[in-house]
Amino acid sequence: MKINLYHIIFLLVALFYNRNILAENIYVDLELVLAVDVSSSVDEDEYQLQIRGVGAAFRHPDVIAAIESTGGNGIAVAMVQWSDNEEQALVGGWHIIKDAADASEYARIIRRTPRIIAGGQTSIAGALSFSINEIKNNNIDSGRKVIDVSGDGRANNGIHPMNIRNLAIEDNITINGLVIINEEPFLDGYFERGVIGGRGAFMMVAEDYKDYAAMILQKLLREIGMPVS
């Protein structure tokens, strides 16, 4: 095919109207995915306790101070709802948070976030794969990438999360865990062995969803404020 003047004009016009092609990635100090369990074991009250807890944490002055002191570029946050191997959703897209106003806005968005996935089995591997993919394709660059996966049960669907965890580590993505042991009292060992990993990875344990808000606050402070364990 010959390239003539019309082709060149068409390309230039297309580039002009689709600046994303030319745009450079945004740089932030931390990319954070909050992967929230919405499988069948999580009822509506428990879902509300999770998202309200996350919303409250982003309003906390210490979290805002931690964000403001990360390095001046802020953090990019996204929430993923997940259940079985076929059910994951990025809710509300990625948000760049640099100050209190951004954090409050994000808290409002989170509090209003509907439950997109009504239930299903538990595929932690599916949640991790989806989250890794979202991090890789978000047009954002950062010095640190973290997936913060919370859940109240072992995987009973999809491949073993250990396999995906290892892929995440290869991509310099850290996986931290928030384990809710209201259903399975030994879940912390399972997460420690087969889910969390990467640079500075850590896990926190909540006895039930009522403890979730307190735990996610501590967890965010550690994730945002501590680059290396």
């Binding site: 306790l49 309200r52 807890g53 409250a56 309003r59 906390h60 100050d99 209190a100 106003a101 409050s104 806005e105 409002r108 072992r154 009973n156 491949i159 073993h160 399975e184 009292p185 030994f186 060992g189 399972y190 062995r193 006895e207 039930d208 009522k210 808000a213 307190a214 606050l217």
Partner: protein, 469 residues
């Protein structure tokens, strides 16, 4: 009619052929993977086994080959994948469960760990593994012990007797023996209502001299008592051989109401025990006991005053859990609303949040007290009252006029929170809209962003209401 019938036959033929073709394709595909298991490299074998696992019950007919490789393959990585595949395929328990039991005695701890976890999928069919799983509770590897315990915990009443036996053994003060008791108590708790028969034993252990035994016993009692399952739901009537519930008398058999009554009696015994544990000298036990009482809602009303006391003088974690418990007590505990509002000014942020959530549960009933306390312009209390209005939402509409006044406050944080509360309350009156509009050029960025959000929310409500009219 004849023509239609022939068309129908053709359709059936096509569907039938397709099913046969797909099945045949599956069969050959699975057989192909089985061949790799015999002759492939380690990586190929792992991939093939993972594929077979993904096929789930469609790979049922290959179980013999998988079991053969589980016993004979030289790579423990391949064997681990086989165990995972067997777990996912799930069928032929008569063959798979014995093979997994055999793997529980493997020299490699990862094989033992995987096998113990995989048995979970076979439920009651894995009953014959109970002795080996109990044995694994003494395994040298922590992960194996946890997996065995987790599986026992999910197997149901079959494992209760084994675990009660371990808990009843006298302690010879070795760490191993104590550890066994603790983890068996934890497993009994994990069984919930199915371990109701163990309640007397757990109550006894809740006063044990060892702090961890006391703590785990209190947590287990809480889980057993908090499990709402009824006998019918836990398969109790259907399986009389299984030891789940103490036999009270012959009349109880088959009488659901009497079972419920018996359960109630056990629950009172649990509440009574938890009440005693609140005064435990160790904070962790006290915390677990208060949290346990939260499961019993109104049944815990006699302890209300004690909880209010803890809410005011306990450590932050005790104060928080006391608030959660009071919130769960229903309208008979509405008189604690002033105490909950006071807790909004607690110096611990998690206690504040617990109070906000407790007041959210109280809804409109909390609004007058919250409005009253707005008179105290306090850096901690006032923002939390505003956040509470936002959390309560439309039921806080009685506070709209007060919020309009706060929109003019000199503190931008107050203005932003008041604007947000108005957006959450969702009453788009002209006065509310005009007041918010006047803040669109506020000097504070957060106020501007919040006002824009609130106006947007309120406009949506206006449109919706307009459409409804």
């Amino acid at each position: 009619m004849q023509l239609k019938l022939s068309k129908l036959l053709i359709i059936f033929f096509i569907i039938g052929s397709s099913i046969t073709f797909v099945y045949a394709a599956d069969y050959h595909y699975v057989k192909e993977k089985a061949l790799i298991l015999k002759d492939g490299s380690e990586a190929d074998k792992i991939e093939a086994v993972q594929e077979l696992g993904r096929l789930s019950s469609n790979a049922n007919f290959i179980i013999d080959d998988l079991i053969f490789s589980l016993r004979n393959d030289g790579s423990h990585e391949v064997r681990m994948e086989i165990i995972r595949a067997l777990e996912r395929i799930g069928g032929q328990a008569n063959k798979t469960v014995p093979a997994l039991i055999e793997a529980l005695g493997d020299q490699n701890w990862e094989i033992r760990w995987s096998a113990a976890g995989a048995l979970t999928s076979f439920g009651k069919k894995s009953a014959m593994a109970v002795p080996e799983l109990v044995g694994l509770l003494r395994d040298s590897e922590d992960y194996v012990r946890n997996a065995a315990l987790s599986t026992l915990g999910k197997m149901g009443p079959i494992s209760v007797a084994a675990m009660m036996d371990e808990v009843s053994k006298s302690l010879d003060h070795t760490e191993d023996q104590l550890y066994m008791r603790i983890i068996c108590i934890r497993s009994l708790g994990a069984l919930g209502a199915k371990a109701m028969v163990a309640v007397p034993l757990l109550i006894k252990n809740s006063t044990h001299e060892d702090i961890n035994v006391r703590l785990e016993s209190v947590i287990a009692l809480r889980k057993i008592g908090g499990d709402d399952s009824m006998p019918g739901e836990i398969g109790w009537l259907a399986e009389p051989d299984e030891m789940i519930w103490p036999k009270v008398g012959p009349k109880m058999e088959g009488n659901f109401l009497m079972f419920a009554e018996a359960k109630q009696m056990v629950i009172y015994a649990i509440v009574d025990s938890l009440l005693k544990s609140i005064d435990d000298p160790d904070q962790r036990v006290s915390y677990a006991a208060i949290k346990g009482i939260a499961n019993f809602g109104k049944k815990a009303l006699p302890v209300k005053d004690k909880l209010v006391d803890y809410m005011n003088r306990g450590s932050p974690i005790i104060r928080r859990v006391a608030i959660d418990t009071l919130a769960n007590m229903g309208e008979e505990a509405d008189d604690v609303i002033p105490d909950l509002v006071t807790a909004l000014s607690d110096f611990d942020v998690n206690v504040q949040w617990a109070a906000i959530q407790a007041l959210r549960v109280k809804g409109y009933k909390a609004v007058p007290e919250l409005i009253y306390m707005l008179e105290y312009d306090d850096d901690t209390l006032t923002p939390n009252i505003l956040k509470t209005f936002a959390e309560i939402g439309n039921e806080a509409k009685g506070a709209v006029n007060n919020l309009l006044i706060i929109l003019k406050h000199e503190n931008p944080q107050y203005r932003a929170l008041a604007a947000e509360a108005l957006g959450e309350i969702g009453e788009p009156s002209r006065q509310v809209m005009n007041s918010l509009e006047s803040l669109k050029n506020d000097k504070d960025r957060n106020v501007i962003k919040t006002v824009e959000w609130s106006l947007n929310e309120l406009r949506i409500i206006q449109i919706r209401r307009g459409n409804e009219d």
